[in-house]
Amino acid sequence: MAQVVPAEGDMRRVIGDGEARPDGEVEGLGEHELLELYRSMVLLRTYDERSVVYHRQGRIGTYAIFWGHEAMQAGAFHALEREDWIFPSYRESAIGLLRGMPVETVLAWWRGHPAGWWDPRAFGVASIAVPIATHVPHAVGFAWGKKLRGEPVCALAFFGDGATSEGAFHEGANFAAVMRAPVIFLCNNNGWAISTPVSAQTRARNLVDKAFGYGMPGIRVDGGDVLAVYEAAREAAARARAGEGPTFVEAVTYRCAPHATADDPSAYIDEERVAAERQNECVGRYERYLRRLGVLGDDLVATIAAEAQDAMRAGIAAAESLPEPDPELVTRHAYAE
């Protein structure tokens, strides 16, 4: 149950460490669902790793890496229904893939091609938000608007630790609580805002403590534990649908890759910590869990990996064969025609 704050200090976990800490399980998740979660994580991981390569090859522009955040993204995603909307930041640029968005669409976005825009209604995924936290009120307004229409839909907004410092986050969170909007605030606390550590971003013990000031429940989970994230988000979605309003979920991860392809973290980051985090990365943790559970073996791992690789190969090919955008396009779509 989402505790009315002050939130628990320690993080919720489900996946054990294969040693001292035993594996838990999430009620209602059968083998099929468990494997779907895995497929999503692998697809995201593959998308991310390929994109970094494409960037080096000059096939896409600057790219915001999300390596190590796949559990946080996939776990939250799978807790939603198809009608629910997702409001991603640039860090979740590929979240649409999990809703069937073509790989080339997302790649086109990073290639600066207008085919990188989509109709949010087609996937229930809002446009990628570039300005920090400004999409948070959008998610709140959408959720509030759906509630006014009596539709049992909720909205999930992804944002980072740094985003919590912005007025836009604050105003959105407060509106959500006041309007009892069915929103899930999914804060990806990866420890860094580019070069600024979370310790220089806030004095709060934990980011989840912020929920208290809005009178909303907060949950703090291990963001590298896909099952813990899934369970927390599902709980938040249930509250939202039950008319109980918003929930703040702090998913604790670690940014063990550069902020973006343009960034060189060596100046500010602790390389040892990064190495340790990469060791304990979320896809591997979940894969080992599934193996311990006996639902995943070498063959299936290989198949799923191959599927993802194929999707990316086809995606980049399609993106690169998109015709040059029509120059006429530059003056269009700002206003109704």
Partner: protein, 316 residues
Amino acid sequence: MEAVNDALHVEMERDENVLVMGEDVARAGGVFRATAGLLDRFGPDRCVDTPLAEAGILGTAVGLAMAGWRPVCEMQYESFSYPCLDQLICHVGRYRWRTNGAMEFPITVRMPTGGGVRAPELHEDSPETYYVHTPGIKVAIPSTPADAKGLLAAAIRSPDPVVLMEPKVLYRSPREDVPEGEYVVPLGKARVVREGDDVTLIAYGGMVAVAEAAADELEAGAEVIDIRSLKPLDEETILASVGKTGRAVIVQEAPRVAGFGAEIAALLAEKAILDLRGPVLRVTGHDVPFPFWSLEEEHIPSPARVVEAAQQLLAY
């Protein structure tokens, strides 16, 4: 003011997706009473008192539009709309484009504007330039109660976001007969307030009355044009008038530099250069913060200053 209230009643009646939101718009019916009666008539779902956060108002309006609503946001005073410039520039003006034109964002932002009401600081600004310069946004400023009703209706029905700035001096104007029921003044059409052959006085909002007063004082025939819709702009009407008179005085209350009057002057310098019989003159507010109200008459363009400019042109 009754005109604005009337328009809101009519449009909310007409389209159940229209939702009014803002600070003190429901329980109190708005500090200028523009939204009086809406709460009782349409209920708390469609007339909403929001928390005190302008960026939150406009930001949630974007989401409401995504959910199929047509939000009409009230900013209590123009100066309190500044916190939402970020949402306006980053999202309201860009989101339609961001969907390759697939989604509409029919958001209306209403705000009182201008000085002349002897109020404390930041209650008398004229910030239209910030809005007009922002791509994806349309801007209209009425100068009569009828236009206040008609332009608001057009804004609410527009598929694009519209900033509607209502001159405070207009709120105080004597109740003048306004068309009953549905009444729409299309965006993009200027209004020729009075015809004249010798000089064109171009104004909008609260400055239209100033231009008219100046026209009364002038011996020469002054044509007064109320721009009404700043974006889209009715270039035709302006160019036709200056083509006839060859003389143009632009009246703008906002600070001079990069004010909207400069855009009108630039239009004339580009498309009416052969018609001009003299310089294009701007009568504007000074490049200073709007003064303490004991000095506001020194800041707001007066009929006398407009007359002086017109005479300078006529004698040119």
